[in-house]
């Protein structure tokens, strides 16, 4: 007679026990807690941990658990009042050294955490939060690259003491016009980078000399893809500043970026900060021409640009040469100067020198700070600045001040509103966006709706499970209970795998678990129907069991492959919540293959296999 190999029993037991261990953290609920990370994004160490804890305890906040995870300090607290208190205590005691995020912390015991176990990660539709999808405007990346090229070329020519009459973008290139034709080759040599990313084309002109610099195809492609990567980095920096626990910023497709912020229920602050492109430029004021005259006649001198001063609304002509721009800043903090909002900035070494040189030569002359904001216009929306297609660039001079003395890399900027100063400091600190972003999708799920979704999903699952249990027990009697045990262990394995992989579970994912109950019993039904068929054909009970399992196996494998294919395709094409459905479906098929073919057989052999003379089967 057929002998069931002992190692198979052990395999089943090992798999089941590990499944249970991985699934175990899900039994424990979530407690309120806070997560601390250092504002400068360095990892927290044990000394800092101790200091924070002492601060908390001194104020009467006693954590129920605390530990370091991935450089962050996680503190679990007894209730929400403690959670809020803990946040304010830390914020007031450490003055901006840490970012404190409110979060939910699993209340599983310490030893589980030390084993690296974690509960399933819930999707935004279950825990509440906001979900954004941004599209990176790769064409905008090129425009931006040209603008920075323009700035570089101006600086280079100035440093090389080559006189030029104009440097301006023209289509996809940059046109440079020199005063003296003799300087042409010197200028080209100075401008042309060593990496060959620029194509230079001479263009004959009546007076002086002119050439157009254009990025090569390859350089443009590289720019575009690096723009997406850079934007992801910038968004990560900005998200970190928002103080949200476990935010994610991921790339989707070629030019999309998905930002998920769990626990946030008002998306507006996040939208404002994430998509903002505010930056600064410092320029000298053109004092030789009359700004009012230029505004009236619309004839602006080539070497200048016309701006409006924010506070007075009056026009001002600023020199085209940018002394320093926002991306040359290494730090920015919002402060107050004489009770008015200000941003205190620190420049990098090169920009610091440039500023030093400019201020040395221009003491007593006015310098302006230009505030630049780019945004994507909705159709019909007016643009107060210059408009290219749907992109609007608004530039205004927020301050025009006389250079009182020489300064270099550290100074303050005034002329902003409080919120602007705060946002600007944050934006300057987190780096600028390498290309404009357009929001193409936004979903916000309130926390109560998330809990509702969990409750409904779990209830449907339990009722589905109970009904299936009853059906199988009535229809297949003792074998039905085998199927039920198998189904239950299958559920545990699926939950265990989901916890292990930390794949996020969404409402469609829970629905997949429920749907999967039906598919999982199918394998058992196939086997039992085969066994019944063999019994009807007059085989002995034991032979029927063996034949049933043997013959049903190929069918089970074949029939599951088709569902598996659908699951994989769904995974490949789907996004967000649908991906979760695909993952659960695919994992479910794999676990049900294992539990019904190996697990169920082990159980059947364990129960009936040892009876030497089996007269009948309860099937």
């Amino acid at each position: 007679m057929y002998q069931f190999a002992t190692w198979k029993y052990w395999l089943v037991i090992t798999v089941l026990v590990s499944g249970m261990v991985f699934a175990l953290p899900n039994v424990f609920g979530l407690d309120p807690g806070i997560q601390l990370s250092r504002a400068d994004r360095k990892e927290l160490d044990a000394t800092a941990e101790q200091k924070v804890l002492d601060t908390l305890k001194a104020q009467g906040v006693v954590p129920s658990a605390e530990y370091l995870r991935e450089g962050r300090l996680v503190v679990r607290l007894a209730n929400e009042a403690d959670q809020l208190k803990a946040r304010s205590v830390i914020q007031s005691a450490t003055s901006g050294e840490y970012t404190v995020a409110l979060s939910k912390v699993s209340s599983m015991p310490d030893w589980m955490r030390k084993l690296g176990l974690r509960p399933m990660s819930l999707g935004l539709d279950l825990r509440g939060g906001v979900h954004f999808v941004y599209e990176v405007d790769t064409a905008g990346a090129v425009t931006q690259a040209l603008q920075s090229l323009e700035r570089d070329v101006r600086t280079t020519l100035r440093n090389e003491r080559i006189a030029y009459t104009n440097v301006a973008t023209e289509g996809t290139g940059l046109r440079v016009t020199l005063r003296d034709a003799a300087d042409l080759y010197k200028a080209i040599k100075a401008v042309k980078p060593s990496d060959g990313s620029l194509l230079i084309e001479e263009q004959p002109v009546a007076e002086g000399a002119s050439f157009v610099a254009r990025y090569t195809e390859a350089a443009l492609k590289a720019r575009q893809s690096s723009a997406v990567e850079k934007n992801i980095l910038t968004l990560r920096n900005r998200v970190d500043q928002l103080g949200i626990s476990e935010p994610t910023v991921t790339k989707q497709g070629v030019d999309r970026i998905v930002v998920e912020l769990p626990g946030v229920d008002d998306p507006n602050e996040a939208i404002r900060v994430l998509g903002a492109t505010a930056t600064l430029e410092f320029r000298l004021v053109d004092q030789t021409n009359d700004a009012y005259e230029a505004q009236r006649t619309k004839r602006i001198p080539l070497s200048s640009k016309l701006y409006t001063v924010r506070s007075t609304g009056s026009p001002v002509l600023l020199k085209r040469d940018v002394i320093v721009s926002g991306d040359q800043l290494i730090d920015a903090t919002s402060t107050q100067v004489e009770g008015r909002p200000a941003v205190s900035v620190k420049l990098d070494a090169r920009a610091g020198q440039e500023m030093l040189k400019t201020t040395q030569h221009n003491v007593g002359k006015p310098m302006a700070t230009v505030y630049i904001q780019k945004k994507r216009l909705a159709e019909g929306e007016a643009c107060k600045g210059t408009r290219v297609n749907n992109d609007c660039t608004e530039e205004e001079a927020i301050s025009v001040a006389t250079i009182q003395g020489v300064f270099s890399s550290q100074f303050q900027i005034t002329g902003l509103q409080t919120l602007e100063a705060k946002d600007l400091a944050l934006l300057l600190r987190s780096g600028s966006l390498a290309a404009p972003l357009a929001m193409v999708e936004q979903r916000t799920i309130g926390p109560s709706l998330g809990q509702d979704n969990i409750d409904k999903g779990v209830k449907a699952m339990i009722v589905g499970l109970i009904l299936t249990f009853i059906f199988m027990a009535v229809y297949y009697r003792a074998f039905g209970w085998v199927a039920n045990l198998v189904l239950l262990s299958n559920l545990v394995l699926t939950v265990g795998l989901l916890s292990l992989l930390q794949a996020s579970l969404s409402l469609p994912g829970i629905a997949a678990v429920v749907f999967h109950l039906g598919i999982a019993v199918d394998a058992n039904i196939l086997i039992y129907e085969r066994i019944r068929e063999e019994l009807r054909n007059g085989s002995s009970p034991m032979a029927s069991i063996n034949a049933g399992f043997e013959k049903a196996f190929a069918t089970i494998a074949d029939s599951n492959v088709t569902t598996l294919i659908a699951g994989v395709v769904l995974y490949a094409f789907g996004t967000g919540t649908i991906k979760s459905f695909a993952i659960v479906m695919t994992l479910g098929i794999l676990t049900s293959l294992f539990t019904s073919v190996v697990g169920s057989r082990a159980l059947v052999h364990f129960v009936w296999g040892r009876h030497r003379k089996l007269e009948s089967l309860s099937i």
Binding site: Q442, R443, A512, V514
Partner: protein, 310 residues
């Protein structure tokens, strides 16, 4: 308990002409519904704004709609699950920023009925919808191609083709159902359709597995008899499995909440139609393609040639 004490002997193949008629009518009706009535596409596909509000008491749908209209927003207002929950949907309008619109609508409702809370908001740009429609179509086609290839490889081309044709039947009828009832067709419904394709094929594969076996054991029998026997032998399994799956899907339909309504309906219809098509359509198609024992013989000649070599 056992519903199928003896193996049944329904002559499925003899009545196949009638089932062709039934299938043709169902498919034509579905296509007509799709063309004439169209799908009530969800925000995932059309773009636009969907806001879900909780009112302090039972919400007055009509009043909500008029107060929004007065503010200049043409919105579809429906109750959503509970009587105090309301869903407001706005299609994308030109010259409007969807984010601004969603904020305005929230403000209008909160001033007209104090205590209204925004439970969820979804704002989808039109370009996403277009892309999703393309991707969804691609996903369905890819699934068909892959499962078709698999059944061809595992069985034989006639069976692969029959399986795919029988399965093709299911998404069309599901789409027809959604056009008829105007239940919102969103991304999760698309996912359900893909799951149904896998599920329905699963049924067909079980039948065909038996067909392959039976062509080996019933050497003398006519193809028609083999197919009938195979369908009858697997009938109990097909019905019981479908019943068990239908049971849990119905639980989902009743208890899963509004968000999963469309999804659960697609699965319910899909399981019913999928079961029907596996029983009545797949086998009949194989018969029409003149599937016979020869098709399922292992290719012997080559082996003999090799053996014959000195």
């Amino acid at each position: 308990m056992e519903f199928f004490h003896k193996v049944s002997t329904y002559p499925f193949m003899r009545t196949r002409r009638m089932w062709y008629g039934v299938s043709t009518v169902a498919i034509l009706a579905s296509i007509a519904l799709l063309v004439l009535r169209g799908l009530n596409l969800g925000i995932d596909f059309t773009g636009g704004v969907v806001l879900q509000f909780a009112f302090p008491q039972t919400a007055n749908i009509e009043e909500t709609r008029t107060s929004l209209e007065k503010a200049g927003h043409e919105a579809i207002v429906t109750s959503f699950g509970a009587p105090n929950e309301v869903m407001v949907r706005l299609l994308p309008q030109k010259n409007q920023d969807v984010n601004v619109v969603s904020r305005e609508v929230t403000a209008v409702l909160q001033t007209s009925v104090p205590g209204v809370t925004l439970r969820s908001s979804e704002v989808v740009g039109p370009q996403i919808g277009e892309e999703l429609t393309n991707q969804g179509g691609m996903a369905i086609m890819m699934t068909f191609i892959l499962v078709g290839l698999y059944t061809w490889f595992r069985f034989q081309w006639k069976m692969g083709l029959s399986a795919v044709v029988a399965t093709l039947h299911d998404p069309i009828i599901i789409l027809g159902f959604f056009a008829l009832t105007r239940i919102t067709f969103d991304l999760s419904v698309l996912a359900a359709i893909l799951a149904v394709i896998g599920y329905s094929l699963n049924d067909t594969v079980v039948v065909f597995d038996r067909v392959r076996d039976n062509f080996h054991t019933m050497r003398r029998a006519a193809s028609e008899a083999v197919l009938d026997a195979s369908i009858n032998q697997t009938l109990s399994r097909t019905v019981i499995t479908s019943g068990a799956t239908l049971l849990v899907v119905l639980v989902l339909l009743v208890m899963g909440g509004e968000t999963l309504k469309g999804f659960s309906w697609a699965l319910t219809i899909g399981i019913l139609v999928g079961t029907y098509s596996s029983i009545y359509v797949a086998g009949a198609m194989a018969l029409e393609l003149k599937l016979s024992a020869i098709d399922l013989m292992p290719p012997k000649e080559e082996k003999e040639e090799i053996d014959a070599l000195p």
